[in-house]
Symmetry: C2
Subunit: 303 residues, 2 copies
Amino acid sequence: MSAPLQEDFSELTAAMAATAAGVEDCLEALLPQPQGPEARLHEAMRYAVLGGGKRMRPFLVLETGRLFGAPESWLLRAAAAVECVHCYSLVHDDLPCMDDDALRRGKPTVHVAYGEAAAVLAGDALLTLAFEILADEESHRDSLVRVRLIAALAEAAGARGMVAGQMADLALEGAGPAFAEIERLQALKTGALIGFCVRAGALIGQAEEEALDALLAYGADLGLAFQIADDLLDDGASPEELGKATAKDAARGKATFLAALGADRARTQALNLAARAAARLDFLGEKAKLLQRLAHYAVARRR
Amino acid sequence: MSAPLQEDFSELTAAMAATAAGVEDCLEALLPQPQGPEARLHEAMRYAVLGGGKRMRPFLVLETGRLFGAPESWLLRAAAAVECVHCYSLVHDDLPCMDDDALRRGKPTVHVAYGEAAAVLAGDALLTLAFEILADEESHRDSLVRVRLIAALAEAAGARGMVAGQMADLALEGAGPAFAEIERLQALKTGALIGFCVRAGALIGQAEEEALDALLAYGADLGLAFQIADDLLDDGASPEELGKATAKDAARGKATFLAALGADRARTQALNLAARAAARLDFLGEKAKLLQRLAHYAVARRR
């Protein structure tokens, strides 16, 4: 992906960093302070969530909501809820009985740092916290919007969404699935939660149905492009560059786009998806510029 | 506990069985049908939830709601949500990295039957499903009641409730904690969710604040009495009688009431708590009879 690397993403990355800082403050306030004999649980939760990641999902919530003039404080809480779910899924996916990863975001994974029991429980508590955040009236004045956010998050994260994707990923290891099967499992594993991000921004901003449909299509393309880029990074980068173990997917016979398509076709596919994602937001004009840049960035990033 | 064993609980157990059947039908309809490469996840979820347990928590939701004339269909869904949370907690607590139990309700535990990865994911998906159930408009006409149920469940189940209790339980293993510490951890580990059950019934039935306070006090006493009885059963029964491994707590240096009080004082304490729990509902008259019987049954049961 040499061409996109030449591009200047400084405006986007500055905006992402500003959003990440706001979400970090919000998460810091929402996560429990370590206390009592269960302090280890609270420490593990904070370790899993704070100070890490690109916060792409929070950025999607914020930027989508901003399109419709939604209040920042509501968007930040929805973004924090999404990040809790994303981080819980990483903690559980990293467990020895799952993907067995020891490194994440350049640090030891939660079960390495706090033990397996605390990692399982921290994941459970983060998932629970996400719903607690959304149920609170500070997340939206209208209780009907809050239950809609909760219903959408549960659907995206549960047995017909993200968790199904992780199960399918494990089940298809070594099975050499076809492209369509990988596309489906990745749409569940990472696409569903990314879809929730744009849906949340649109719900909070009370967007029209038509805009929501376009945004969901953008999210689906973005999610796939992001995942293909991830597969290519896993193959080409060193653990130092990526902050997590690399080249493990191939060794494990994971159902990756790279395995199904080969590097050249995968690269082309990612670029095409990013372009299509961006084009889907043309109708929104200048105000969708950062979301469009994000699609290109998803395939051009080095980590 | 020889005296209460003479008592006749047939009316209560018949009512509990009828409620359990209704909740079973509701859960059967709400749990996903096994499908796709992730079918193992759906099978593990169904295995974890269906066909087992006394369904004491659902009974508490139903009987509390009935005090206030709440519609049965709403109560059943809240009861199903509670049971999803209860069963998820059992699945995760039974994992090798936690209590490492191989037997539950007379059957192999979920991780023994489906593997550890599926067990972790099934627990995650059951927790998520609980919130999905409550967010749906079929659980209550008023969205404000639905978010209140969700907020209360998240608080009871999360990092300041049930999950905190499980972490404290693991942290205090072998530490010989005092009675007050054990009381606190059990109030979190099992009491918080039992408290949610009566709260849910009261919320759905739009009960007055005063009645709710009495019911929450009843729930707290009931929860403790139930847990002390559990400790005594764990000590005295065979695995065949109990359907799960027994006498493991003592071997592991678990922080049990039995260890802190000794068998005689623990037995007296359980009986006193049951009596106090029942007395707290005297003001409700005849209609609270089954809830009062439940308190006595909690300490008289053989499994």
